[in-house]
Symmetry: C2
Subunit: 138 residues, 2 copies
């Protein structure tokens, strides 16, 4: 299966989890992207309205867990008429798509998007650049 289909399946799995928890507290599963940047892996997570000081990152073997919390709707603003936006704590555990150096994660939060960059244990060598280099030598 190609990547878009896999991503869709992951979405459906998340949807199923959400439907199964319909009777309990509203589920809160931030969407995530993984990017391979040759020397590093980049994890992007949508966490709108989450304060930086609630965010925590932990690594164990081949997984990374991101935890955080979005405050509940401020009741001083008024009476809630309808609420689709999730609030409260979230925990998301993801498997690293490639081995990374332990504790190499560097996080930043901007416009509600959390970006975490990890150093890859085995950086991808840019074959094109190497070939060009060999050509120059000969």
């Amino acid at each position: 299966m190609n990547e878009p289909v896999l991503a869709r399946l992951q979405q459906l799995m998340n949807l199923r989890e959400e439907v199964e928890t319909l009777g309990s507290a509203r589920p809160w599963t931030p969407a995530a992207d993984w990017i391979d940047g040759d020397s590093h892996l980049i994890l992007l997570l949508d966490v709108p309205g989450v304060n930086l000081d609630t965010l925590a990152l932990s690594e164990e073997d081949d997984t990374v867990t991101v935890q955080g919390e979005r405050p509940a709707l401020d009741e001083t603003l008024g009476r809630v008429l309808s609420a689709e936006r999730s609030s409260g704590k979230f925990t998301r555990t993801l498997v690293f798509p490639e081995a990374v150096l332990p504790q190499s994660g560097e996080a930043r939060l901007s416009a509600g998007v959390l970006t975490i960059q990890f150093e890859k244990r085995h950086p991808t060598i840019d074959a094109t650049a190497q070939e060009l280099g060999e050509e120059t030598e000969s």
Copy 2:
């Protein structure tokens, strides 16, 4: 039905829309909350990673439409391994839960959350405060 159940049903309707569009471009429907603040209505929308200059607000009769766009993943960052986060344009049309004054919407964007405040046509009178006032007068 109480409000949490209604919110759940709205979620399920959104999920159904998402499942139905599984073959096409990834759906992108920002979650929304409505709050009644006595003299105004507040609309909150989760739009992480959306730039302010792509956002547009339009009102027609009893509905408000919010449009915006999130840029696709920056390919200069690297190769996309998996992508759950939606990108591209979104359009969300919502019915005002109460009549508002035309063109009274004031928007601000913070931490990926868009907050739009509208002036209510018929502000809610705070009965408690009035009663207290009458007591003081007597």
